[in-house]
Amino acid sequence: MARKPDLRRFPGFLAVTLLCLFLLYAPLVIVAIYSFNDSPSITLWGGVSLRWYEDVFWGLEADKFKRAAINSLTIAAAAATTATVIATMAATAMLRAGQFRGRSFSFGLISLPLMVPEIVTAVATLIFFSAIGFQTGILSILIAHIVFCIPFAYLPIAARMEGIEDVYEQAAQDLYATKWQAFRLILLPLMTPGIVSGFLLAFIISLDDFIITNFVKGAGVETLPTAIFGAVKQGIKPNIMAISTLLLMVSITFVTLSYFAGRMGQNRKSNPTGET
């Protein structure tokens, strides 16, 4: 029998996808391999060892990296949480409050952090902080991160909210729920997958940021990227390879977890319109 004439298949697209994955992973995989190199030289292979992982956890700079990691995680958690709350509120206004004056303008404002080149944001924020005499430190990093996390949190949340018809909230109100009850009991649970992915995106963007952080951070305050940058600009060292491999593994765990969480959410959310 004839093969199914699958109009979705294009010859070569699989190959490009594999090439794409290869390009994405090759550097990281090689770094991961070399992180187990026993030799301090990055060019010579000296056998397998875990010494650089030891170095990461118990070495001289372990403390600095630990502090940087704690800072990074604290800032990312706080910035992502705040940005997610702000983005959820904003999405509710943008998508659930009808037409209002300044709606298009608001959309521009929310996407602005995404559109302004990072270096511009970094410099402008630094000048601003020094102009108003704002003491840079953890707080200044946090504020800057909240700003650029907002659009990243907003996009998936808004996309999700857009996909939920407003009839559910209307049905709730029709059944005597106040606006707040309609939000809390209906909209919020239905939006959970969007909120989770918005939060994750913001969290990871914050965790990843170097340029802006480097400009607005206070003295002695390091985040993981700035600490790594300080150590790594002069050339990649085996302990940095170990750190990056650890980061990769943490990310994979994190994303895998959220993937399964998302799947569970999907199962529960079922099919909002009841269509099949």
Partner: protein, 305 residues
């Protein structure tokens, strides 16, 4: 990309009334901590430079003058058009454009391929594409540098395998910068295209085949025009950050040729220490980006009308 344009059609009105107030926190935060700084930056671009960094509060167009007019090495010649910065901008645009094209050439088939997997495996593919992105940009860039250097693993393996006699020289070339930009921003291309393709109505492909179109005719005449909004969104999301990028040119391109990002950075961190000029360059870059975006938004409005 979902949510990238103001949502079309009728806005849901569940929280009309005082609902719009919910936008206020976003306004306040972005207004104070991004719009105000950018306004200050705009102001600085019209002030006088202080020797060794900083500004003097005397209005002047010197920064813009410096940007657009060449008065010779000693600043006393007849003004000519200054090509230095235009060249830097042009190079940035060109590099960013090329990176965008590279991302598109690889990103479109990838996005298409993923979007046409069965629903349950799509997530896994997307996840595969995005995981490297969760690893620090810096590490990614440096890993790339490590991989492609003349004595790096890639060349060593190719040499050992006898595939090449001479190391392939990539590091410190434009190609390396391309690779770096591509590597930094690929997901920004894949995700919006994926979103568009995922909503693409495959009945259109069937209709085209039914009307005697081959696969490639279908691709160019039907599919690409229909998913164009996703392609454009992806291009913008790769192009804009690439324009301002400085890690890739610095680490992979050998910092030999300024791109806009490094030019601006140099004004604030480097020897030159010319803040008004850095601010002016930033404002010019920002205006360019905004113009592109406005044109794009206009177009979208027209298309959805």
């Amino acid at each position: 990309m979902a949510g990238l344009g103001p949502t079309g059609g009728r806005a849901a009105r569940t929280y009309a009334g005082r609902g719009p107030l919910l936008i206020l926190p976003a306004w306040v935060i972005i207004g104070i901590f991004l719009v105000l700084p950018i306004l200050i930056m705009a102001t600085y671009s019209f002030l006088t430079k202080e020797f060794r960094g900083g500004v003097i509060w005397e209005p002047t167009l010197a920064a813009y003058d410096q940007f657009f007019f060449d008065r010779g090495l000693f600043g006393d010649e007849q003004p000519k058009i200054e090509w230095t910065y235009i060249l830097i901008f042009w190079r940035s645009i060109w590099q960013a454009g090329l990176a965008t094209l590279l991302c598109l050439l690889i990103g479109f088939p990838t996005a298409w391929f993923i979007a046409t997997r069965p629903a349950h495996s799509r997530t896994v593919w997307l996840f595969l594409i995005t995981v490297p992105y969760w690893v620090n940009l810096l590490i990614r860039t440096i890993s790339m540098k490590f991989l492609i250097r003349d004595n790096g693993p890639m060349n060593q393996w190719l040499l050992n395998a006898g595939l090449i006699d001479e190391p392939i020289h990539i590091i410190n070339t434009n190609l390396a910068v391309q690779l770096g930009l591509f590597y930094s921003y690929l997901p920004f291309m894949v995700l919006p295209i994926y979103a568009a393709v995922e909503r693409y109505n495959f009945a259109l492909s069937e209709a085209a085949a039914d009307l005697y179109a081959s696969r490639w005719v279908t691709l160019t005449q039907v599919i690409i025009p229909v998913v164009k909004p996703g392609i454009i969104a992806g291009c913008i999301l790769v192009f804009v950050p690439s324009l301002g990028a400085f890690l890739a040119p610095d680490l992979l391109g050998g910092a030999k040729n300024f791109m806009i990002g490094s030019l601006i950075e140099e004004q604030f961190k480097g020897a030159a220490g010319n803040w008004p000029f850095g601010a002016a360059a930033a404002m010019i870059l920002l205006s360019m980006v905004l113009i592109v975006l406005i044109v794009y938004a206009r177009n979208q409005d027209r298309e959805s009308a």
